[in-house]
């Protein structure tokens, strides 16, 4: 099933963080590549993903693994 996910991240300070986080989320299998959007000022990442292939935890961990804190993860 296709779900919409939102990650509330720690405050982002540098524009390259966006590229990194975007890259990290895109590398998770099951995430719709085109849908990944990192909101720099809101410090949020939004994307759609296939919940039969991956889950929110896995995506959040991919972001954590490159050193950014995930404060809150939600899906709908």
């Amino acid at each position: 099933m296709v779900k919409k996910g939102t990650l509330q991240l720690e405050t982002l300070a540098c524009p390259t963080c966006m590229q990194k986080i975007e890259g990290a989320i895109k590398q998770v299998e099951g995430v719709d590549q085109e849908s990944v959007k990192v909101l720099f000022n809101a410090s949020k990442a939004k994307f759609t993903f296939d919940s039969s292939v991956t889950n929110l935890d896995e995506i959040a961990n991919s972001v954590k693994s490159i050193g950014y804190d995930v404060l809150k993860a939600s899906e709908r």
């Binding site: 405050t11 300070a13 540098c14 524009p15 390259t16 590229q19 990194k20 890259g23 990290a24 895109k26 590398q27 959007k37 909101l39 720099f40 000022n41 809101a42 949020k44 954590k64 693994s65 490159i66 050193g67 804190d69 939600s74 709908r76």
Partner: protein
């Protein structure tokens, strides 16, 4: 380990700074020596590690980041045993990032204030009928929630029990509390100032009106203008290009010092952050002043507007007819008012509503009989008196004499755009009431301000008859005024002006004017937070406050200017640095890093000026 390094970045920055300072102190006291080198080496390691970790992490997701350039520069300086430079560069880079974070937080403070108004918890009814506090995310549609006095309403819903008054300023901008009884709608993010209510949740989270407003502003702040998208693409190739240039210079000259200096100077800091930081500040300032801009593209287009089209009813005027003038022809004012209100209370005519509203203290008499005269008015018998309420034709038809003074008054009021209600008591003219949909207070000044800001055409479009439209136009000094237009005629007008090459803004109330709002270069909705207004327009005036338009335009222009300033600052800095690498003897990587971080702070500080606009 990695995460520990990153979490403690600020502490590591402080340690690096302390070590660098200690090294300089020792150097001043006892000159160069192994102690100085040792301290600088330690500083380079402490500061360099988190940078290197980030560089590697971004490489893993195939991004060539600024961290990589800096990490390589530090490594290079290490290789040629320039510990002083490696330590200073590491410290400045970390410290710069820290300052960036602090100052950026300021530019985002306006939107943060909005987000903080969002409810966090709700009192939810459990199966046994008692209420428990639960996180807002757990609330689902259909559940029953309790809100006590002073509490935040957590969702959009309908009151099912109790009553009170809610302050809905966060949604409508209206400062006065609104009464809420069973059956009334309440909105998330508003505050129950009085009473206790139970409500059924109908929309939760991001689906609520408040949630939509927040999402809109968030997306707006990050939506990219064409210029920004260009810079984004540019920086994606720029960083690797700097890397390539470094390698070429190193291969050609075998000069490690020069190569690593280029690495540091090439960092694309101010250029990448300059434009977004301006638009964030601009949009933030707007949000705090009740103006929602949907993105930085909107700001740059709005700044170029030369034609503004206005809807009349509800935009230039208040939208509800009110008693504007009263002329008495008898001594006993109170009696006439009492009789008039008694008759009008029974009528559903729109003018009757305005009259009843104008005399809230009138004493109401029972009305014995009423007869409606088509196209004329009402003949009624009240408190043993024969009362006529209607137009001049009714007076003539019923043989009520109008003095020449009264006739003159009637003509004058009509010429001034009033709708007239005449009242006669026992065959004598007693009162003439002029009712008018009045122009909003201060609109004339606002329009003058817009003209001063360079808007060439101020045009009124209305469904009203041409006569009324002309009057308003003359009163306000508009460039053109067109009446008797249907919504599709207005949309056609918008299209026509755009094909002439004008940048057109349309100001309307968001519902019947949706087509025009959508067609215009900039649609400005006098929105009360309605969904339609939010969706079809580009700029939303939160509390339907017309006076915000000059501020909005001024802010848009200032933000545009600010973006250009930041681009110029960034480009000049890069140019000066690159030229001085090759043409001067004083440039080294520590100075380069200092100037580079400095320029980032300058563009952020420049953008922060917009917060005070």
């Amino acid at each position: 380990m990695h995460n520990w390094l990153l979490r403690n970045r600020n502490r590591l920055t402080a340690v690096t700074g302390a070590l660098v300072l200690a090294a300089f102190a020792v150097k001043l006291a006892s000159g160069e020596g192994p102690a100085v080198d040792g301290l600088l080496l330690a500083a380079s390691l402490v500061g360099g590690l988190p940078i290197a970790v980030q560089a590697v992490q971004s490489l893993r997701v195939r991004v060539v980041s600024i961290d990589l350039l800096v990490a390589m520069a530090i490594l290079g300086a290490f290789a040629i045993r320039e510990f002083e430079e490696s330590a200073v560069v590491a410290f400045l880079f970390l410290f710069g990032a820290y300052l960036e974070q602090k100052t950026l937080a300021k530019t985002r403070s306006a939107i943060k204030g909005l987000v903080e108004m969002a409810p966090e918890v709700a009192l939810r009814m459990s199966e046994d009928g008692s209420f428990d506090e639960v996180p807002i995310d757990d609330v689902e549609v259909g559940e029953t929630l309790l809100v006590k006095t002073g509490g935040k309403i957590p969702v959009d819903g309908t009151v099912v029990r109790g009553g009170g008054s809610a302050n809905e300023a966060s949604i409508t901008g209206e400062p006065l509390p609104v009464a809420k009884d069973v059956g009334d709608k309440v909105f998330a993010g508003t505050i129950l100032e009085n009473g206790t209510i139970q409500l059924t949740a109908e929309k939760v989270g991001e689906d609520t009106t408040f949630g939509k407003i927040i999402e809109l502003v968030e997306e707006a702040q990050d939506s990219k203008s064409q210029a920004e998208r260009f810079i984004d693409r540019f920086s994606r190739y720029y960083t690797p290009a700097v890397l390539a240039l470094t390698i070429i210079v190193w291969l050609a000259t075998r000069n490690v010092e020069m190569a690593i200096t280029i690495l540091v100077l090439g960092c694309p800091g101010a250029l990448v952050i300059g434009v977004p930081v301006s638009s964030v500040s601009g949009i933030g300032n707007g949000a705090r002043n009740g103006i929602l801009f949907k993105g930085s593209e909107v700001i740059s287009r709005f700044g170029k507007v030369d034609t503004i089209l206005f809807d009349k009813t509800g935009t230039l005027t208040y939208g509800n007819p009110q008693v504007a003038r009263t002329l008495y022809y008898v001594q006993d004012h109170q009696l006439v008012e009492d009789l008039l209100v008694s008759v009008e209370k029974e009528s559903s005519h729109p003018l009757a509503k305005a009259i009843v509203g104008a005399y809230p203290n009138a004493h109401q008499h029972p009305v014995k009989s009423t007869e409606v005269i088509q196209g004329g008015g009402v003949v009624a018998s009240v408190a043993c008196r024969k009362v006529l309420v209607g137009n001049a034709h009714l007076m003539d038809a019923k043989g009520v004499p109008l003095s020449s003074r009264a006739r003159q008054d009637v003509d004058e009021l009509e010429a001034a755009g009033n709708s007239l209600v005449l009242v006669a008591v026992d065959g004598q003219l007693a009162l003439v009431v002029g009712i008018k949909d009045q122009v909003r207070a201060g609109v004339a000044e606002d329009l003058a301000a817009l003209r001063k800001m360079g808007v060439k055409n101020l045009i009124l479009l209305s469904g009203d008859n041409q006569g009324t439209v002309d009057l308003v136009s003359k009163e306000l000094g508009l460039s053109e005024a067109h009446g008797s237009l249907l919504p599709e005629d207005k949309a056609e007008f918008v299209r026509e002006r755009r094909t002439r090459g004008e940048v057109v803004a349309f100001v309307g109330d968001g519902i019947n004017d949706s087509p025009s709002l959508a067609l215009a270069d900039i649609g400005i909705a006098m929105g009360n937070g309605t969904d339609v207004a939010i969706e079809t327009s580009n700029v939303i005036l939160m509390n339907s406050d017309f006076h915000r338009i000059p501020h909005a335009l001024g802010l848009a222009k200032a933000t545009r200017r600010n973006m250009v300033e930041n681009i110029v600052i960034a480009l000049v800095v890069v140019a000066v640095l690159l030229v001085s690498v090759f043409a001067s003897t004083w440039m080294n990587m520590a100075i380069g890093m200092f100037v580079h971080e400095g320029s980032i702070l300058v563009v952020i500080l420049n953008a922060m000026r917009l917060l005070r606009y």
